[in-house]
Symmetry: C2
DNA sequence: GTTTAGGTACGACCAAATTCGTACCTGTGC
DNA sequence: GCACAGGTACGAATTTGGTCGTACCTAAAC
């Protein structure tokens, strides 16, 4: 069962949820940017400047969080999102490399 | 541009289409069974005994074909489906291993 | 206290995906 | 010829997913 903030444990991640989350280009872009940054990097949702409304940004980050790809922690008035790199690599080795290798263009 | 039967070339495969195709458990089951079989194995759609109607089976195989994951060739009165193993490994190395490693249970 | 910025919650909308039934086509086998 | 099995095409119903506007909350800054 996910914790009070909606984070599944590493063992609760499912390939279905992870692949569905990564099927969206915007969410893949978030994961790619986090994966390309130094490990442990935490950024606010707004810092990604996604070309959608605030409500839609929240939706995408919830999808990523509930799939187990990111961890969101309260930090004052904002919430920092960090990639769950080791959890992902443990459950689905090689997956992050596929996302990182994608040409971000379109 | 895909060929007359809807197969994209290796260079035309997109991560979006491939991940969306693999997000469905039934389609992942097809890919997993093909990936676990000897290379070059070709099977009919019906041989997978998916728990859905014939029309739905056709839909799922079209999704897999248009994503570039399988190749379907006419063989008399049926169509044999084969995994495009080398194309997939070239474009998205490690992806098949993730699907194969999944526990098929749920 | 007031304002402001970052996020969330809710309801709504529209497009796409999933499913099915039915009709149809094409070879194989009798 | 005829029946049959494997697939496809089409249309329809339902669900899901991405998007938005608005209202609201919290903490920092003033």
């Amino acid at each position: 069962m996910p914790d009070s903030e909606g984070h599944p444990s590493a063992g609760e991640m499912t390939l279905s949820a992870v692949l569905a989350a990564l099927a969206d280009p915007l969410r893949r872009r978030v994961v790619r940017e986090l994966a390309s940054a130094p490990d442990g990097t935490a950024r606010t949702c707004a810092s990604f400047a996604l070309p959608v409304s605030k409500a839609t940004v929240t939706h995408h980050f919830r999808t990523l969080r509930e799939a187990g790809l990111i961890r969101q922690v309260d930090r004052g008035n904002s919430r920092m999102a960090a990639l769950r790199r080791t959890d992902i690599e443990t459950c689905f080795p090689g997956l992050l490399a596929l996302v990182t290798a994608e040409t971000p263009a379109p």
